[in-house]
């Protein structure tokens, strides 16, 4: 197909916005609506048809909601301290999928407890030096030359921490190569940390924003990007404020050089964490994933090569480029039935039980562990009998972002299953048939064979990683608990 004809619906719709008031795609219709401008006003000033704006309002959970307080409906808040029937916090306030306060459940958007961070033992940690608060200026002491950035990054073995685990240097090299012909490129920091149970990105954005910005600078230099966007989910207003202050400080100090960095804020959609959906959300569209290829690293925003990179990965990348170390540790977010929830940085391969016992104070008083959900609602279910499993991409494939919610004996398998089904149906974007319809059918399935048939269809056919990985924890549950998954007792 003629390249010029490959105009996506995305660009057609944002075209009017881009040429209208505002002028730049960072300043998009979603943010305008979230800021309280009326649909009619936004329609007129962005040139977007009214029906399309209604499409946004009915897609993003926070648009059109006039709530003072959001109540968290993430796993840790539905099962506070790892117990219960999964229905906690349902009634209070407007609904938000995980506010990143899993360590202090049940949380609302007003909860203000600081995020605990600790390391498992004395082994050299990657994040720890960043968290210890080296002076911000030092974080930006990066090589100018692309190869001087890419080589140590490659040597570090860093892989994306958002869940997919794609080798970071390889992605950057792809974008750098595509940039030759394209003339410019984009870097996008994916701060849409939606996985219930994960809050490491919130920690970094709030407590170490310069480390993230330094990662953006490193990436921009490596791929030759003149502009960067930091996308932050709407559930993290504090992070947005901290990041914006840091961008201002860095620009004033000249730390970020020529790189223009803008913040784009989401408005409540889990699927926007998927990279193509994220780009569409940045463009002011419904955050629906799009088919690949083209991969964003080749053709993304403005049809330019675009590296979309998770926050933790960026912070690590900057550090590893600077220090030349290895990406040997991982920050796990621990919540649920443990004595001391929080972010625990531990070496890859640490057994889950050791992480919980030594990093999170073991079981909470009076509670007996039944199982853990590792990597969020599309991650893995590990029964307590298998807590010796090593936490690594090889040892526990699908551990994703590394959020861990430990559940005790009071939690029924069906309650967890229903929580997963509700999450899947509630967050499916509706773009493709298997996921849109399939997620709604999960709760009505009554036997393992029928469930496996549906999961297989979703896994094979779904357009993005969401529908493809919804089956993962459901299969774990069936494997470990069999018919209990279908035992409806209320």
């Amino acid at each position: 197909m003629d390249e010029r004809r490959r105009v996506s619906t995305a660009r057609l719709a944002s075209f009017a916005a881009a040429r209208g008031e505002g002028g730049e795609c960072e300043d998009n219709a979603i943010m305008a609506l979230a800021a309280g401008r009326s649909e009619a006003e936004v329609s007129a000033s962005y040139g977007i048809p009214a029906a399309r704006l209604r499409g946004l309002v009915t897609f993003y959970e926070h648009l059109g909601v006039k709530a003072e307080v959001f109540a968290c409906s993430g796993t840790s808040c539905r099962f506070p301290n790892g117990r219960g029937d999964g229905r906690a916090a349902r009634a209070e306030g407007a609904h938000a999928v995980c506010l990143g306060r899993c360590y202090a459940p049940p949380a609302t958007s007003r909860s203000a407890a600081p995020i605990p961070y600790r390391t498992l033992d004395t082994a050299p940690m990657v994040l720890a030096p960043i968290m210890e608060g080296t002076g911000a200026a030092a974080l930006y002491a990066l090589p100018q030359d692309a190869e001087a950035i890419l080589a140590p990054l490659e040597a570090s073995g860093l892989r994306g921490r958002g869940g997919a685990g794609f080798p970071t240097a390889r992605k950057w090299r792809t974008a750098a190569a595509a940039r030759e012909a394209a003339g410019d490129a984009w870097v996008v920091a994916n701060g849409d940390e939606g996985d219930p149970g994960a809050y490491i990105d919130r920690l970094l954005l709030e407590e170490a924003p310069h480390a993230v910005l330094a990662g953006l600078v490193a990436c921009a230099r490596a791929i030759g990007a003149s502009r960067a966007i930091l996308y932050i989910r709407g559930e993290y207003p504090e992070a947005r404020a901290r990041v914006q202050a840091a961008i201002g400080e860095a620009a004033a100090e000249g730390w970020t050089g020529e790189l223009k960095i803008r913040v784009v804020v989401g408005a409540g959609s889990f699927v926007c964490g998927e990279e193509t959906a994220l780009l569409r959300s940045i463009e002011g569209l419904r955050g629906e994933p799009w088919v690949k290829p083209p991969f964003p690293a080749v053709e993304g925003l403005d049809r330019l090569p675009t590296v979309v990179q998770n926050i933790e990965t960026l912070a690590l990348a900057g550090h590893l480029v600077r220090t030349g170390g290895q990406a040997t540790s991982k920050a796990f977010c621990v919540a649920g039935a443990v004595a001391s929830p929080g972010v625990v940085e531990a070496p890859w391969g640490t057994p889950l039980r050791r992480l919980l016992d030594e990093g999170a104070g073991g079981a909470r008083a009076g509670q007996t562990w039944k199982m853990a959900l590792v990597g969020g609602p599309m991650g893995r279910v590990v029964p307590a009998s298998e807590f010796d499993v090593p936490l690594s991409m090889e040892g526990l494939p699908g551990l994703g972002h590394g959020g861990i919610v430990v559940l005790d004996e009071s939690v029924s398998v069906r309650a967890l299953a229903e929580h997963l089904f509700e999450f899947a149906a509630g967050e499916s974007c509706g773009n493709c048939t298997p996921c849109r319809v399939g997620t709604r059918q999960l709760a009505g399935i009554e036997d393992a064979a029928s469930m496996e048939r549906l999961l297989r269809t979703m896994e094979l056919g779904s357009l993005c990683g969401f529908g493809k990985t919804v089956p993962t924890p459901v299969r774990d549950l069936i494997r470990h608990y069999g018919q209990e998954v279908f035992h409806v007792d209320h």
Binding site: M1, D2, R4, R5, R6, V7, S8, T9, R11, L12, A13, F15, R19, P49, A50, A51, R52, R54, G55, T58, F59, S269, R286, W290, V291, K292, P293, A425, G426, E427, S428, C429, G430, N431, C432, T433, P434, R436, V437, G438, T439, R440, Q441, A443, G444, S450, R453, L454, R456, T457, L460, G461, S462, L463
Partner: protein
């Protein structure tokens, strides 16, 4: 190479393309080759080296092993169908594609609420209970038409197709029907295709649309000798399956009870009464014999090449006069004059349909293609949406002007100073291609001196366009790799129309933007066969193939084919015919398929001229205002009822094929003209239009290689100098027909309309999407429901000054006459300017228009008349 189900195939395009090449049937429910792959339905899943991917969105790669049929895939497709059935009642053809064995009993949760239904639109019908959310409609609306009517509302299982809160008829829909044409389930369909479910088509006929010069290819579905539905031909070079509200839906006129089905003659009491062909032809023969030497013919750009050829052959050889003209006189004659002066040929230099996507700058001058040439308008819009820079020169903020990077909103009638100032910037800022100028043009040294005083700063007061904007536009055009100019009647229908076209031609001559892909000067032809009528010789000064009658070798060549000498006396243009008629110098006039009373300017003058002619014969399909004045009316055939060819605006000769019979005793127009020729003593032997084309080819060097056998499919773009020549897409690649391109130096001659007192307003006339020219055809279709009156656009501040509100009836008065139209208060027009349509005869829009003509080509200045307006007295 890769293998699909064991068959080797070349790794080009998508996996879906490759699957189709080996005949592997993959259910791609949400795919259309014209749209970007979206992968919504997930039906086209195939196994590639153990992985499952959608064939539509995955490139075919060398070495891959692809499986499209396996137990796993069958089970997957069946389950996908079951999931669809949980959501919606899925159409049987869709289920059949997925294997057809789904029952709808597998999944219990009914995930969708009752769907919306809508029947508010005259053509489109929507039933969301049948929607599988494949989004083909939405994507076609976005990516083919560019209208953005549809949206997806809701998330997850709440997702649904929407068109906003109101009735569908109240959306921005332009009724192109693209959505209905791609919908696989019938969730969106149209009244014509619903009728097909009751009355299945007996046959389909490919033909060429007659609603503008774009030349879209139609697939006409016929049952019981009626057109039931029309679809776009998917692989047509011109329209790629797309159509507009006229081409797709406005066919009902063909069986309208108003159709003329017998000849009419004026009886002793002065009434038109039914007559036999014999009687009618006898009257014409007698009158033309009586007035021999004082006869003239106006041919029709709506008729076929063959018919136009016959009309001028009849006049020249049969009646021995060059008094033959056609309605190109009142639209694009200045284009021909201007472009011939610059290049030597009056036709489009490039093919907009084939090359618009190559252009990086598109300059649209005096054209409103999203209404007047909708399919090409949509392509221009898509080019702009896809990143091409758009410059629009127009006194109104047309739809394209609203999307433009630069809109040069000039004061009406100031094309000449504006184009001079653009050229001045090109020269002053060194944005010219000196190598091209030296090699291919003449007159640059003089031009350079001439143009210097026209800097935009000095012309600002005349054109009303800020100098900075003119400079910006000039720089964009001058720096572009491939700037393509497209123009319309806003360029030509002026006192200096031809000269304006010459100045437009200066731009590519200065920058080398001609003679290669994606550039050039491209007139959008108003009527479907304006190009062809001119090619055939329906103008007094040029015969078939633009042969000059005064040249002895031309006379010899034509005399040999025609068996009659070529007359020596020069002929008259249409306006001269009217003048001659009023002076009593014209005895008999033949008009083919033109409603000049409604469409020609200064209606009073036109009527007086037609009444002054002793004998008027009109060949028509309806009893138009013009036919009503005739002494004899001959019933012709619509384009759906005859064979022939049209030549579109990009010089493409395409077949017109008979789909249905003419009503009653009406006949194909070529047959009627042959009968007239025989009755007036010049019998012809043609049995089929193809034989006429053979004669045309013998006389016309550019069409020498054209014959019906070669016109299947997408036809041929002239020049086609030989039977084995493939046709020519791009003109002037090596040289211009006149040798070197001519840089024109033209000073501004303001129209008399600009000299009238300051209180008067400037009236522009033009078209609306739903109607075609005088509306004779479109007003007799449900398009009337979409647009049922002429409107007068005026600026809010003028409306306030005159105490006129939106919807008021307004009287428009000029030195020539008056008209009434409904006020549309809008800032699309500038203060002091008005825009009025002329589709409805009761408006009498052309009672108001001017007697000013183009100073070289006699084309009326429709685009500028000094008028005054007031609110009409209540009736």
């Amino acid at each position: 190479m890769l293998t699909i189900d064991g068959k080797a195939v070349e790794a080009t395009g998508s996996l879906l393309d490759a699957c189709r090449r080996v005949g592997a049937d993959v259910p791609a429910l949400c795919h259309d080759d014209r749209l970007r792959p979206a992968g919504h339905c997930r039906g086209c899943l195939v196994e590639v080296d153990g992985r499952y991917v959608t064939a539509c969105s995955t490139p075919a790669q060398d070495g891959a092993t692809v499986v499209t049929r396996s137990e796993a895939l069958q089970a997957y497709r069946r389950d996908l169908a079951e999931l669809m059935l949980a959501e919606v009642k899925v159409a049987a053809p869709v289920l059949a594609q997925l294997g057809g064995d789904a029952t709808g009993e597998r999944y219990k949760v009914r995930s969708r609420k009752e769907g919306r239904k809508d029947a508010s639109h005259p053509y489109l019908r929507l039933d969301m209970d049948a929607c599988i959310l494949c989004r083909l409609c939405l994507r076609a609306c976005d990516e083919i038409q560019g209208q953005f009517v549809y949206a997806i509302e809701g998330r997850g299982s709440e997702a649904r197709l929407s068109w906003g809160d109101g009735a569908f008829a109240d959306t921005d829909c332009v009724s192109c029907g693209a959505c209905a044409s791609v919908c696989p389930t019938g969730a969106i369909t149209d009244t014509d295709h619903l009728r097909l479910t009751v009355t299945p088509a007996e046959r389909t006929v490919r033909t060429t649309c007659s609603y503008c010069g774009v030349g879209c290819q139609l697939e006409v579905q016929v049952a019981r000798d009626r057109v039931v539905a029309i679809d776009g031909v998917k692989d047509a070079a011109v329209n790629r399956g797309h159509l507009c509200v006229k081409g797709r839906y406005a066919h009902g006129f063909s069986r309208h009870p108003d159709r003329l089905s017998t000849p009419l003659v004026r009886d002793a009491a002065g009434e038109l009464v039914e007559a036999t062909w014999e009687e009618a032809l006898g009257r014409v023969a007698a009158a033309f014999a009586k007035h021999r030497g004082r006869v003239a013919a106006l041919s029709s750009s709506r008729c076929t090449n063959e018919e136009n050829y016959l009309v001028q052959k009849w006049m020249r050889a049969g009646m021995q006069t060059h008094n033959v003209d056609c309605c190109a006189r009142v639209c694009h004659a200045p284009t021909a004059t201007g472009m011939i002066a610059a290049f030597g040929t009056g036709a489009a230099t490039n093919s907009v349909a084939a090359e618009i996507d190559l252009a990086d700058v598109v300059l649209v001058a005096g054209a409103n293609p999203t209404e007047a040439h909708p399919v090409m308008g949509a392509r221009i819009k898509q080019a702009a949406l896809g990143g091409a820079t758009l410059i629009v020169i127009d006194p109104r903020r047309t739809e394209l002007a609203g999307l433009a990077d630069v809109h040069l909103q000039l004061s009406p009638g100031t094309n000449v100073p504006l184009l001079n100032s653009i050229a001045a910037v090109l020269v002053e800022e060194g944005l010219v291609d000196m190598a091209f100028i030296t090699a291919r043009t003449e007159g640059f040294e003089y031009f350079q001196r001439f143009i210097a005083p026209f800097a935009p700063e000095s012309q600002e007061a005349v054109t009303g366009v800020p100098a900075a904007l003119v400079r910006k536009a000039a720089r964009l055009y001058g720096r572009a790799a491939r700037p393509m100019a497209i123009h319309g009647l806003g360029m030509t229908e002026h006192l200096q129309g031809s000269q304006g076209v010459m100045l437009l031609c200066n731009l590519p001559l200065l920058t080398g933007a001609i003679g290669r892909d994606g550039v050039g000067i491209n007139p959008l032809r108003g009527q479907n066969n304006v190009q062809g009528a001119a090619d055939m010789g329906c103008q007094p000064n040029l015969m078939t193939g633009y042969a000059r009658p005064e040249r002895p070798e031309v006379q010899a060549r034509f005399a040999e084919v025609w068996g009659r000498p070529v007359p020596a006396e020069p002929g008259m243009t249409l306006p001269k015919m009217y003048d001659a008629a009023r002076a009593g110098e014209l005895g008999a006039l033949y008009i083919l398929g033109e409603n000049v009373v409604q469409t020609d300017p200064n209606e009073g003058h036109t009527i007086a001229a037609l009444k002054a002619v002793d004998f008027l014969v009109v060949q028509e399909i309806f009893l138009t205002e013009t036919a009503a004045l005739a002494d004899v009316v001959l019933p012709g055939a619509s384009f759906l009822e005859k064979d022939g060819t049209f030549t579109n605006g990009e010089r493409r000769v395409q077949r017109v094929r008979k789909a249905i019979e003419p009503p009653g005793q009406a006949r194909a127009d070529w047959e009627v003209i042959c009968a007239l020729m025989e009755a007036t003593g010049y019998p012809q032997t043609f049995q089929h239009p193809s034989e006429i084309m053979d004669e045309i080819a013998a006389l016309s060097p550019a069409l020498a290689g054209v014959s019906y056998g070669r016109l299947e499919g997408n036809g041929l773009q002239w020049p086609v100098p030989a039977a084995d020549h493939p046709g020519t897409r791009t003109l002037h690649t090596d040289a211009f027909p006149r040798g070197r391109g001519h840089l024109s130096t033209v000073a501004f001659t303001p129209s008399p309309a600009l000299a009238i007192d300051a209180a008067s307003m400037k009236l522009i006339t033009g078209r609306r999407l739903e109607h075609y020219n005088c509306g004779t055809m479109t007003r007799r279709t449900p398009n009337l429901t979409l647009s049922d009156q002429d409107e007068l656009e005026l600026h809010p501040s003028d409306a306030a000054d005159k105490g006129i509100a939106d919807g008021d009836v307004v009287v428009v008065r000029s030195a020539f006459g008056e008209a009434e139209a409904v006020a549309r208060v809008t800032d699309r027009v500038q203060v002091g300017t008005l825009f009025m349509t002329f589709h409805f005869p009761e408006t009498h829009a052309n009672a108001v228009t001017t007697d000013v003509l183009d100073n070289l080509a006699d084309c009326p200045e429709y685009k500028l008349t000094a008028v005054e307006i007031e609110k009409a007295a209540p009736r």
